[in-house]
Symmetry: C2
Subunit: 269 residues, 2 copies
């Protein structure tokens, strides 16, 4: 189903050349690497210096956070919701899995997911998408910088497409272990271009269809910007509507920080 034409998400939609429709499972499309570009202003010096740490991946200086450290850190104000999300992903995702980053943004989640699925036989796969071409370019540059191994980079397939259309790019016979959403605007980008309730709802429905049994939909909802709370309402409504015999929907949030992001996790039994 095509998304509604009035959506903000489609202001900058570019279907070519970054989009490759319905690759067959036997011949995955080549990754959409562009010549290296400068990162956008949002890429801080720290991120440039240590992209793996920025993505929550292990570095020699910073070990990967476990769920215990992330959750206890969250409860005590030392860790962010995104670190809890990454830690939970790591407990669900296995090497060789197929996963989806529904909102690439600047590529932090994409890189973290790549590190979770890339195995020695290079059979894992990350399908990344973002409606903003600038986000895909930022993600592409970021991954080029962070990953030296060209074969590993090929495990990422990037598409400039609305997340509501994820079924068009993920092969039908690929069991998907995780679909990750990071809702809001592109950090450092155009803040008027935001994910919006209608297409987010369609994207969640699509994610629920492609997810395999035992898989997880992870939604981090930023609510500090105009429209953020409306989007949270839609996500919560969707999460609440999932039948309890086949889904577990839970929510983790700060209570005395009204604009702190909310983490919603949807597990398909």
């Amino acid at each position: 189903m095509p998304p509604p034409p009035h959506s903000h998400l489609f202001r900058s939609q570019t279907l070519t050349p970054l989009l490759r429709l319905r690759p067959s499972s036997n011949s995955s499309p080549p990754p959409l690497w562009r010549p290296r570009r400068h990162l956008s202003a949002c890429a801080s010096a720290a991120r440039l210096a240590d992209p793996l740490a920025a993505a929550g991946s292990a570095t020699p200086q910073q070990p990967v956070l476990g769920v215990e450290e992330a959750v206890v850190g969250f409860v005590t104000g030392k860790r962010k919701a995104t670190e809890v999300a990454h830690a939970v992903w790591r407990s669900v995702v296995q090497k060789g899995d197929t996963v989806v980053d529904a909102t690439c943004g600047n590529g932090n989640d994409t890189l973290a997911l790549l590190k979770m699925v890339a195995d020695e036989r290079r059979q894992g796969c990350v399908y990344g998408m973002d409606i903003q071409e600038s986000a895909i370019e930022s993600t592409s540059s970021f991954l080029q910088m962070a990953i030296n191994d060209g074969h590993e980079r090929e495990l990422v397939k990037l598409f400039s497409i609305c997340h509501s259309r994820m079924e068009e790019i993920v092969p039908k016979d690929s069991p998907v272990r995780l679909v990750a959403f990071n809702l809001g605007y592109l950090p450092g980008g155009d803040k008027t271009v935001i994910t919006v309730p209608r297409t987010t709802e369609l994207a969640l429905q699509a994610a629920s269809r492609i997810l395999s049994s035992g898989g997880l939909i992870s939604v981090l909802v930023y609510i500090g910007h105009p429209g953020g709370r409306d989007e949270l309402d839609v996500v919560e409504s969707f999460a609440s509507s999932l039948p309890i015999d086949t889904w577990v929907s839970c929510k983790l949030q700060m209570v005395n920080r009204p604009i702190a992001p909310v983490l919603i996790l949807l597990n398909k039994k």
Copy 2:
């Protein structure tokens, strides 16, 4: 401040002989052990057979859950909110600590807390209270059955008193690491006697005063009974009102199970 006389909590209040007011820190009152009684109907056969497991404590057959297993289990529908709570408590509470069980009920939390604080020198302490004398009796019987070591049992001080008056029983110079609430009615008991918003609010205020820096208030709110949602509103309002420079308030809940208990954790920085 005495609680309001109209509160449901005071229907069965008994100040003597179970209550001992303001014990000095140098001479802790002896535990209020009564002759062993039969447990109430709520004590299932399984609970009788394996009280440590029922309380979430380690047994030879069932190791203690870590935060990772509890949280991932919660997200995937295999673990309960109370198991997450216990796992988080274990990461905060240390041997030798003073902790408070503000709602003893049938004693499961009291026993779990005792196992966390009891050290070889027997310096830990659990102050347990419940407005219902039958709950204190049930807790007392349960602990007698579960703990063979009489010295260890002496680390528990039980009081039949409203939780809003916890400051009257915890010595002023005892730094308190954890105050645990399990809000609702006594399982297996009189369901018309429930914790109610007004005294729960007073109890949370008292807990926030006696808690030491780095300590945790843990509130598991059961909302499936009449009045449960009103009480959740009060707890959430209290949690939201805590200043962000000195408190971290967070909430974990199921979204597609409307009457599932809600876990609220308040960390004092």
